[in-house]
């Protein structure tokens, strides 16, 4: 009759496979094809270079505000590489590396960041969602997609990305509960990059881990070293297996770090110490993977150098293409497109009136 302990369904574990010197725990390392692993590395590096270039372009006023993925490449590419292309990818706004893995063209990202909706164009057969900016608001979409896939007896599952800050939003909470009660085959991937703009992780929530928030929904949840591409891959692979087996959602907290600005409109010197950034630079996910690959003789400094040159050229070309396309995208009437499948009469009238106005001005 007195106070008794209630046994919970789940506990929280922490997973790490690759250490900062490039050494791995061989018992835990997931099987990844050598080519695939090199592709993972290439994508992570491309993302890093693209981020750097975009920062430059933004500072020159050539493109607008964007949110760099720098430092989070392992969390993103590691996760997507563990999934199928038919699986549904539901990003927030910082998933450049994940988007690149999915085959989204750098030129499209550049165009999008230059302020053109055309950059968000998605091929008809793709299962990628466009960027979602309102924090956490994309999470329920992934649950719906996953449920729908299950309803259609497809093998597809869904993954959604969000940040540490997003775990404070109601959308996060409601979506996790839905996923749990409906056993939706979805993976919730929280990139805990330690900051939500100026709010440090420690003040976003009092809970020791963000993973433990999953306990409230009886969702299996774990923390992984998010700068360790193997740990992320392994965790997502396991979650995907569970989802495909009909065992419902998983929550994964990737411990990572936002190595750059929040967005290009942000000035982190107002709120964080450079020392902290330096500390995390030692845990840089790309360097760690490179150490591993070099030890395994799958990569060398020379090869990396050559690869970086190639990526820079790829980005040069992409920006040239983008630049050209921008020159062509002069028609403001595009803003009337795609509001509805069929524009209603009043909207057509507005378009025509504006067209007329432009003609008269022109």
């Amino acid at each position: 009759m007195p106070r008794k302990k209630v046994r919970l369904e789940h506990s929280v574990e922490y997973l790490s496979i690759l250490d900062k010197n490039g050494k791995v725990d061989e018992k835990l390392i997931p099987k990844i094809d050598k080519d695939v692993l090199l592709q993972i590395h290439r994508t992570m590096l491309l993302s890093r270079h693209l981020d750097d270039r975009m920062l430059l372009l933004q500072r020159q006023g050539r493109i607008g505000t964007f949110a760099p993925a720098k430092g989070q490449e392992a969390s993103q590419v590691g996760a997507m590489a563990a999934l199928e292309m038919g699986d549904w990818f539901v990003p927030a706004f910082r998933e450049t590396a994940a988007m690149l893995w999915r085959g989204i063209e750098p030129a499209n990202l550049l165009l999008y960041n230059a302020g053109y909706n055309e950059g968000a164009e998605i091929p008809e057969d793709s299962h990628d969602l466009p960027i979602a900016i309102p924090v956490a608001s994309q999470i329920p979409h992934a649950v719906g997609l996953a449920y729908a896939a299950g309803y259609r007896e497809s093998d597809e599952i869904a993954i959604t990305f969000f940040g540490d800050g997003a775990t404070s939003e109601g959308d996060f909470h409601e979506a996790l509960n839905f996923a749990s009660v409906l056993k939706a085959p979805v993976i919730f991937l929280c990139q805990n990059n330690q900051w939500a703009i100026s709010m440090p992780r420690g003040r976003q929530s009092e809970s020791r881990t963000l993973a433990q928030k999953g306990l409230g929904y009886a969702i299996p949840s774990l923390q992984v070293d998010g700068n360790d591409v193997f740990a992320v891959y392994a965790a997502v692979q396991e979650a995907a297996e569970r989802a495909r087996a009909g065992d419902g959602p998983t929550m994964i907290e990737c411990i990572t770090y936002r190595m750059s600005v929040h967005t290009t409109a942000d000035d982190p010197s107002k709120y964080r110490d450079e020392d902290e950034v330096k500390k995390w630079q030692e845990l840089d996910p790309i360097l760690r993977l490179q150490k591993y690959l070099k030890a395994k003789k799958q990569l060398s400094d020379k090869k990396i150098e050559a690869l970086e040159k190639e990526l820079e050229q790829q980005i040069d070309t992409a920006w040239e293409d983008t630049h050209k396309r921008i020159q062509e995208l002069t028609d403001p009437l595009v803003m009337f497109d795609d509001v509805y499948a069929e524009p209603p009469a009043s909207l057509q009238a507005q378009r025509q009136a504006y067209e007329q106005h432009l003609k008269c001005e022109g």
């Binding site: 549904w88 329920p140 719906g144 997609l145 449920y147 729908a148 979506a175 795609d338 509805y340």
Partner: protein, 326 residues
């Protein structure tokens, strides 16, 4: 052909569309076992099972956001908000995503979802159960918003809403869910979204209304005919967005005198947009200031006084006679 009330007519639409298309999924709080608090979804769970008729946790944001996910996959969710007064919890999902995903993805995705909810006063309910804030949805580009007024058009609009490739918000006038019956064809019937109808013809005065207030407007029109010998044309909007101004502007050009009736609050209520369109489309024909009979800019009072809040036949007659004498 059966005589149905509006609740049953909507149920007929849902049932037939679920039967026609296994992509149609019904979801909401208490829509399954309980059949919905207004019994609109009664019987659907037994017929279509719990994968297609989803009793959800109490969570409107997720309900709307999850529905968007279903729609992204190509399903056709019909999502119920238990009352329009609790739909604001899911409003940001409608504004930020349902309305924009076609646009944001340059047409790759569409959101063929229906968000249906009872709205309006007059059923002796608790606070928040008598709201009429259709403007909040009608103002959002990318959404459509319709409000039926009779069993038959409720059924036809619901079918069209379900089949529409874009998100459609359906406000159901709960005050007349069971107020009267109308013949509703057994066979499928649709109504184009964005099209109003002439509910009564007349050449002396134009009255514009929709939803539960249409009945009162028609009653006033009849009384005007009887008592004043005035023939009123009554336009039933059916759709607030897109708003079909052609019909009412034409009527206004003909009569020169217009009264608008709605139960939404007055300031920034739907009448404003209707008046704007009338100015744009029929200004030179107007012989008197347009009048509006609306809910007041107060919170909808608790039920003992809700009828005082609502436009009634007297207030409509007052305005009509005012306009006729101006």
């Amino acid at each position: 052909m059966a005589e149905l009330n509006m609740a049953d007519a909507i149920k007929l639409a849902l049932t037939q569309e679920m039967e026609n298309d296994d992509g149609v999924i019904v979801l909401g709080e208490d829509v399954g076992v309980d059949g919905g608090v207004f019994r609109i979804t009664e019987g659907l769970l037994d017929r279509y099972g719990e994968r297609r008729v989803i009793d959800s946790p109490v969570a409107e944001t997720a309900l709307v956001g999850f529905s968007i996910g279903l729609a992204l996959y190509g399903l056709k969710p019909v999502c119920e908000m238990q009352f329009s007064g609790f739909s604001y919890q899911g409003f940001h999902q409608m504004e930020s995503h349902a309305a924009r995903l076609r646009w944001r993805s340059r047409g790759r995705y569409s959101i063929p979802m229906v968000l249906r909810m009872p709205y309006g006063a007059g059923v002796h309910a608790l606070e928040h159960h008598s709201e009429s804030k259709e403007v909040l949805y009608a103002h959002i580009p990318g959404l459509k918003m319709v409000i039926p007024s009779t069993p038959r058009n409720a059924r036809a609009l619901m079918v069209s809403a379900i089949r529409d490739p874009d998100p459609v918000v359906v406000f159901e006038p709960k005050a007349i869910y069971r107020a009267f019956r109308e013949e509703v064809p057994d066979d499928e019937e649709t109504l184009p979204l964005g099209q109003s109808r002439t509910a009564r013809e007349g050449g002396d005065l134009t009255m514009i209304s929709y939803g539960a207030m249409l009945q009162r407007t028609l009653q006033a029109a009849d009384q005007l005919a009887e008592e004043d010998g005035v023939e009123t044309e009554v336009i039933d909007l059916l759709s607030l967005s897109p708003l079909d101004h052609e019909r009412f502007a034409e009527s206004a050009r003909n009569t020169g005198r217009v009264v608008i009736v709605h139960e939404a609050h007055r300031s920034y209520g739907p009448a404003g947009e209707i008046m704007a369109r009338l100015i744009e489309e029929s200004f030179y024909y107007l012989e008197a200031p347009i009048r509006r009979v609306t809910g007041f800019d107060t919170i909808v009072p608790m039920f003992a006084r809700e009828q005082a809040y609502l436009p009634d036949v007297e207030r409509i007659l007052d305005a009509a006679r005012g306009v006729l004498n101006d």
